[in-house]
Symmetry: C2
Subunit: 317 residues, 2 copies
């Protein structure tokens, strides 16, 4: 009796012979078995994958393609899930105009709110964009307070030392407990992070590349964990550096690079760029090479660490 994959064994049968090893006679009355099959062969016993009462998917598991298949198998057409955190994005700075505008001398278009939104979408989060706050204490305080009503506030700009750079002060005025406000990294040094009750507040730097890198290093791990992901950090790899790099030691640098897999190894090619305002140069990268702050040079052929950008799979160059 022919049995296709996935169908039950007829009553009385204890094994299934593969069609490849069976041959039907010309008169269709005899089957020649060309390779013996053991009892139980090609049969998955009932309950092999799970027993009655067993937990098939623990609470807290994130639902990727494999979990979706498990749920479908067991007919779980509706499951209770946690909602994603509510996240506010606030751009700050007198120099900013919205993307629809034409910059006069002294103004630039707000790009960070858009890259931050796209970075959040890589985590499955759709943020609320609160617009651009001027460098005015009252306005900034009001907008930050509005953002703090969500579970997470991400601001960009106003984070460096400077007369008009007062995001940290505003955070403090609004009872955000500052947990750090300077990081030994570049770009991203003036990142501010604090907490007010269960709300997280990130003050990211205003330079486009700084905002990007700081998000991936600090915001992504925190928000990913809030979403239940075990390893939300950008993927780390180790690979061979294709050219020498130099720096003034002190801060750990995260620099744009192209990572390529071949012959069982990653090669990591640092890209030319013009600093933390050069988002054009940066956009040609698919990875960040990590240059430890303790070193002033790395040689061609050195084994170095890198982080793959969140859209690595989808990148084209």
């Amino acid at each position: 009796m022919p049995i296709t994959t996935g169908t039950p064994v007829p009553v009385g049968a204890d094994a299934v012979q593969m069609l490849e090893y069976a041959q039907l006679s010309m008169d269709a009355r005899r089957v020649t078995i060309r390779r013996a099959v053991e009892p139980g062969g090609n049969v998955v016993p009932r309950g092999a994958e799970a027993s009655a009462g067993e937990t098939i998917l623990e609470a807290g598991r994130t639902l990727g393609p494999a979990e979706i298949a498990v749920l479908a198998t067991f007919g779980c057409t509706e499951v209770s899930v946690w909602r994603r955190p509510r996240v506010a994005v606030l751009a700050t700075g007198d120099e900013l105009i919205e993307v629809e505008g034409t910059p006069r001398s002294g103004t630039i278009r707000n790009s960070n709110a858009y890259s931050l939104t796209a970075q959040l979408r890589c985590l499955g989060i759709e943020p609320d964009y609160l617009g651009i706050a001027r460098d005015d204490t009252d306005e900034l305080r009001r907008r930050v307070a509005e953002g703090l009503e969500r579970e997470v506030l991400i601001s960009s700009g106003g984070a460096s030392v400077g007369q008009y750079d007062f995001i940290k002060t505003i955070f403090e005025e609004l009872q955000v407990k500052i947990l750090f406000s300077k990081v030994a990294m570049k770009p991203g040094k003036p990142t501010v992070f604090g907490r007010k009750g269960d709300t997280l507040a990130f003050g990211l730097p205003g330079n486009p590349v700084s905002s990007f890198v700081s998000f991936e290093n600090f915001v992504r791990p925190a928000l990913g964990r809030m979403c239940g992901f075990e390893t939300p950090e950008l993927m780390h790899i180790a690979g061979e550096l294709t050219r020498a790099m130099k720096q003034i030691p002190g801060r750990t640098a995260f620099l744009p690079a192209v990572a390529t897999w071949g012959d069982g190894n990653w090669s990591i090619d640092p890209l030319p760029w013009k600093g933390s305002s050069d988002i054009i140069g940066f956009s040609r990268s698919n990875a960040l090479v990590i240059f430890p702050g303790t070193r002033d040079s790395m040689a061609r052929g050195d084994r170095v660490e890198a982080m793959l950008l969140p859209d690595f799979f989808m990148r084209s160059r």
Copy 2:
């Protein structure tokens, strides 16, 4: 004159001093410069990142967070993009019922259409689900023909050798040119792939794990390239195997594993599972360890290759 990051330099000034290295006198009439600044210091010259007429983003680039920032910077609020390919998903098999149903003896719920849909969503593609086709030549031919009206058809089931396993025959009847129909891999051996004009047709195996692995190895690279991604393949890593593995050599195996990054290295821990129908065991993995078909064993501590699952970032265990 105080200048915040991102604002233009006043006429006549050729450098900006960092506030950290300047000190205002008590009467606010004198500034002491505590560290000299070179001409041009802390100033990004006009046109440094791009000159007039320069291409800032080449046609064909996929739009990730960094590209979105570039577009925002230049005020490109609307851009022409290619649409994603139209993809049809077809489940086949008399043994299948829809997820809302309760299986009788001999039937199982259709899970592959759901995992395939979730896998496609990892690529940003929302497929058309064509439902379950019975193992009936006319019905299958009609449904496959319907799928072939899209740019891509993905069927699951009906791909092994067997009286009722005739997806390859149906493909051929419908003028799909078969490009391969057996692969030296496990799971996934009975994968069929063909082409009709510009339409791709994938006949994936019916076992849930086989369907999953075959999708990631064949469908993902093809569809990713159709979407313009340069490296749509699952991320490859090399790492240290945490325990010995054995197999009968012949086919390259892709087996569930947990990959963990630490101390600059990946460790790869193969998971227990019960074969290609065990989607529950498989769902605990975050990677596929690659066991070359030329080898019968791999030792603990061996450097082995693995592929990280598409939702690696978002997984929890």
